[in-house]
């Protein structure tokens, strides 16, 4: 294409949106920034942020950090190892339970399986409200029901992940290719056959990847639900923080970091093996 003479005036006239943006559009960004800063300042004042308190706290924090070194479990290493095992168990069991229960429900929430809006809507809202409640809150509720201990943690993770899985799985199912389902239907398969042979082979690898990812992130969640009394290493951590045993605290934090890194590594490898290069490319 040969370069052409450009008539600037003509282009200006043709694209007024680009060259002569109205004042409202030009002022929008600064106005938004100003509003964001105003809310920030209001928030800092309302939440009692005073510089003196901040710096006093910071120096306190510096002391705490100094006291954390070197990390030292004292004589409670076996207890901590057991607690760590408990945490990993909570994550694994909770996630598995959630996945098992979420799979059938997610079928009900998927548009290509249940076309009726009236039926799908309540299922979706139900899943949404479960997800709206934090894992810690579920842990508190389950502690009221089955008592203190790791079992409450398993159930808490199972319930809150059930909501998340229901949504994720149903999205995976909606994203599946319909052609294979139609093929099964054309050869005379029933609705269940369509799901089993047309849908599941497509979505299972995706679902397996998501479950693995959740086991990974639940290792983190499982450490915190201990703080409200649902077992695992979080219980030890919260206790040691309350009695100001900082060396033990730093050791426990290190243990958590190492465990999470190890799980990351393993589940990364596994996910790669299950989903294959497809997900990476």
């Amino acid at each position: 294409m040969t370069p052409q003479e450009v008539d600037t005036a003509q282009i200006r006239a043709r694209y007024p949106d680009v060259f002569d943006r109205p004042a409202s559009a030009r002022l929008a960004t600064p106005a938004m920034i100003a509003a964001a800063l105003a809310i920030l300042v209001y928030g800092l004042v309302d939440l009692d942020f005073s510089p003196s308190r901040f710096f006093a706290g910071l120096s306190q924090l510096g002391w705490i950090t100094l006291m954390m070194i070197p990390p030292d479990p004292g004589s409670s290493l076996p207890i901590y190892l057991k607690a760590l095992g408990e945490t990993l168990s909570i994550a694994l069991l909770g996630t598995t339970l959630a996945a098992v229960f979420a799979l059938p429900v997610s079928l009900l929430a998927a548009r290509n399986i249940v076309p009726s809006n009236i039926l799908r809507f309540p299922v979706r809202r139900f899943l949404d409200s479960i997800r709206g409640v934090d894992t810690l809150i579920w842990a508190l509720v389950w502690i009221n029901v089955v008592g203190l201990g790791p079992f409450a943690g398993v159930l808490a993770i199972a319930v809150s992940d059930f909501g998340a899985f229901g949504k994720l799985f149903s999205e995976a199912i909606e994203g599946a290719d319909q052609k294979q389902v139609e093929g099964i239907r054309a050869s005379g398969g029933s609705a269940l056959h369509e799901i089993r042979f047309g849908l599941l082979p497509q979505v299972l690898p995706v679902i397996a990847g998501q479950v693995l990812y959740f086991i990974e992130s639940n290792t983190r969640s499982a450490t915190i639900i201990g703080i409200v009394g649902a077992g695992g290493i979080g219980l030890q951590l919260a206790e040691q923080i309350r009695v100001l045993e900082w060396q033990k605290v730093s050791f426990l934090i290190l243990m958590i970091l190492v465990a999470v890194a190890a799980i990351d590594f393993i589940s990364g490898k596994l996910r790669f093996a299950i989903i294959g290069r497809r997900a990476v490319a």
Binding site: G43, L47, G57, I64, E86, D128, D134, V145, F151, L257
Partner: protein
Amino acid sequence: MTTAVSILPEQQLAALNAAYRQAVSRRRLRLLLGAGVFAAALALAAIGAEVNLRTLFTYFGNFVSYFDRILTLDSGQRVWTDVGEWFWGWRKWLKMLGETLLISYVGTLIGATFAFALNFFAAENTSPASWLRFVVRRLLEFARTVPGIVFALVFVIAFGLGPMAGVLAIAIHSTGALGKLFSEIVENADMKPVEGIRSTGASWLSCMRFAIVPQVTAGYASYALLRFEINVREASVMGFVGAGGIGQELVVAIRKFYYSDVSAILLTIVVTVFIIDITTGWLRGRLFGKEART
């Protein structure tokens, strides 16, 4: 219409069939093995987590009746028959809810600012030195991996009880999470503008400001909004450890068995989270939509 299907000669077919059967049986064996290992891990975990199915079945009724109880007023009526009585503390709760939202807002903004300052050092393509990248990445990883509520527990001791500890905990956790996401956006950015600006003799800072930042702001804003949404949930439980917000009211209600209060506060939180979800979703759609057009 007839179609001829060519059938291979018997010998060739037998070899192919055998290979097929072998492949299938190998896959089945692998699946079975995997399932076996998984089942063993589950059994081990069940022992580790003191799973007791008897307890579950004995108390499962409690779980169901718990929801019955939290939906009943002291007078024995269903909560929705007397909304005024159900939400008797709405002034206090709304105030705490506002505090929760402020905590997550301030925390997200501070976290996003730090993440913005750090992410260029963590990204593969823009980091000025590899040792710097290593240090910043480990720092972000630490901030991300330690759960926010653990930071809150420590900060409550350092900074005293109150929302300040919650804000700082959320800010640190957000720095870690957003720093990683931001640096991934930068790694996907087009490097040609950077070369162009560098060829004019500009410093590293100008390269970032004029070549990278214009490409990535929409992505940053989108992730920051998503983080805000997550932080609202997180801030709602910060009160459990005394770090401010509505969690404080909730934990008192749950622990002291003020049943109808539990449902009222939970409903308030869930509705707020819904509204925030929808609003930020809409905002993110607009942000990305606008950027895609220009």
